[in-house]
Amino acid sequence: MKGSPHLEIENLQAYFYASADRTFVRAVTGVDLCVMRGETLALIGESGSGKSVTALSALGLLKGDPGIVAGRICLHTDEGPRELLAGLDRCVTIERTPERPLSISKNGPAWDRQQKRNFVGVRGKEIAAIFQNPRTAFNPYLMVGEQIVENIRLHTPTKLYQEAYDQALYWLERVGLEPAAERFDNFPYGLSGGMCQRAMLAMTLAAEPALLIADEPTTGLDATLRTAILELLAELQRNLGFTLLMISHDLHVVRRLAQRVAVFYNGVIVERGPSLAMLSANDIPKHPYTQALLDAQPVRVSPKPRRLIALQGDVPSPIGEAAGCRFAPRCTHAKGINAKRCEHESPPFFQVSSDHQLACWLYTDSKEVSVRGVDA
């Protein structure tokens, strides 16, 4: 099974309508992504670049109007593939003609019902998630243990309370929360952030999910705890073999955990490839943005002292349409001869090695693989 696709996302587009200005916020404009079974894929990028929107779309939890407007998400389960966005085209119509502005019409309630059908048996079992702030992700009115028991009884054959209780204790111990019986009775407010995230892992993994989405699981934690949690996550993944889709700002973390990386910038993926290759400072071709990310990263052991280079300029507003490369205004290479092309034409993906693609006009000599996105 290993090596086969687990989650395929094709041309995902999600917009939000800013009613005040009557414009669309283009959260994600044509994302293509494939998560392989058993691997760890990291999504990196700045805030607002569309990582979380992509992850939430896979969970069917994206809120807002109109939300997902196009795309395909396919989840490969043991029973076969499942289209998680099935029926989207029936609920959404996109009209765009050169003389009229973009108009999207969406049957929200129908889509909600459709989503519900699409996700029967998926959430928690096939795809589970842990969130950035574990303390607000736990229900404050229920004991931590009760919530684990609930998850166990929902998703595993264990239905008896007592059995589920024992399993919950086992999982609590497994993630290092001891004494488990006491932790079971804790309310979320009674646990520290690190303990909460452990409990969260216990709860999520107790359901034995096939795919785990971890949305910046360590951002809210201290540096020391961060490592411990990541170690735990890595260890659990090794032993349980679930697929991990991780969102992170932290390139160190990504390098440590992820096999592959996808770099988001302003609603599109600009580069995807193996993490070790992409995130090391060697001479492998990189997207200028990835390079900029690396340059802004302090390096623990560096051969020679190096100045951190902050990226100049701001992320272009996701509001309104953008022609050309999204990164062009900030790109150091988009000067001179390239400038015109960078500013007016959207770059397609270019294959630089077997599993490494990037979208930049710098690499026009490489093989073009795909052109996607309504904006193209």
Binding site: F24, S103, I104
Partner: protein
């Protein structure tokens, strides 16, 4: 139930037949506009009655034209049980609320602001004391308190309105306390103090004026509505504004004597006036509240 989202044409040219999904924002604007309009009309009526710009003398009875129906010649809105012009009395009836109700609102705003500020800023025992005061005041039903006051003091309507004002503050105090406490938790004071602003400026200018202004407006419009309803209830019980001075409340009350016989205009008109005013105030408060929330967390 399809919702249509249309982007603004970037050239600014609007194509024909566009429909917008924008409802809430529109409603909020409409609510605020409606509230302002009603307040404007009320002020106009108040001015008119102060300067005597009235179609008739509000006390002038025409015994031959008792209970004239709607649209009678000369009396567009008809006459009451005493042959007095209803339109005139509706206009003059505003007087009964304008000053007493505004007074009540002012009293409750002052007390509420002081207590809310103290409790939110200080917390601890002061917060407990404020909570106690608010709960105490809310524990005694206001109408019963007024009836009790009527029994022991025999107050007139101005004093009754004063009681209503004095007991109207808990809502504001509580909301203000929560708001200020929320700000305090966000290190609002520390950052302001650190930037060298004096405490007074922080309290009154930043806190009360910039952050809590919507709360005051919301409370004022709600309290105004409450005062009007109170006067109406008291009129029914016989303790409100007394004839011949018209108030909407006593107009509803005297008119309702004829309602069950089918003459429902004399009471329905002022009742509708009350309802429209109240709804305007409520909508205004609601819209304003949402606006304020949007501004705080867009």
């Amino acid at each position: 139930m399809r919702t249509r989202y249309v982007e603004r044409n970037l050239d600014g040219a609007q194509s024909a037949g566009q429909s917008f999904s924008q409802t809430r924002r529109w409603w909020d604007t409409a609510g605020i506009a409606f509230g302002v309009l009603v307040f404007f009309v009320l002020t106009l009526a108040f001015t008119a009655s102060q300067f005597g710009w009235l179609p008739y003398d509000p006390d002038q009875a025409d015994l031959d034209l008792i209970l004239a129906p709607l649209g009678s010649p000369g009396h567009i809105l008809g006459t009451d049980f005493f042959g007095r012009d209803l339109a005139t009395r509706l206009i003059v009836g505003v007087n009964a609320y304008f000053l007493p109700a505004l007074g009540a609102v002012a009293v409750s705003l002052t007390i509420g602001a002081t207590l809310g500020l103290a409790a939110g800023f200080r917390g601890g025992p002061v917060g407990l004391a404020t909570h106690y005061t608010c709960t105490l005041v809310e524990a005694i039903p206001r109408l019963l308190l007024v009836l009790f006051a009527v029994t022991v003091y025999q107050p007139d309507i101005y004093h009754i309105m004063l009681i209503i004002g004095l007991t109207g503050f808990p809502g504001l105090a509580t909301r203000l306390r929560l708001r200020i406490r929320h700000l305090r938790e966000q290190s609002f004071f520390e950052s302001a103090l650190a930037s060298g602003v004096s405490l007074q400026t922080i309290l009154f200018k930043h806190l009360l004026w910039h952050h809590c202004r919507p709360l005051f407006l919301i409370h004022a419009s709600q309290a105004m509505g409450e005062a009007i309803l109170f006067e109406t209830s008291l009129s029914y019980l016989g303790f409100g504004v007394q004839e011949p001075t018209p108030s909407w409340g006593n107009m509803v009350q005297t008119g309702s004597d004829y309602l069950l016989q089918g003459n429902f205009w004399p009471s329905t008109l002022p009742a509708a006036a009350i309802a429209i005013t109240l709804i305007a105030f409520y909508l205004f408060a609601d819209a304003f509240e949402r606006r304020a929330q949007d501004r705080q967390n867009p």
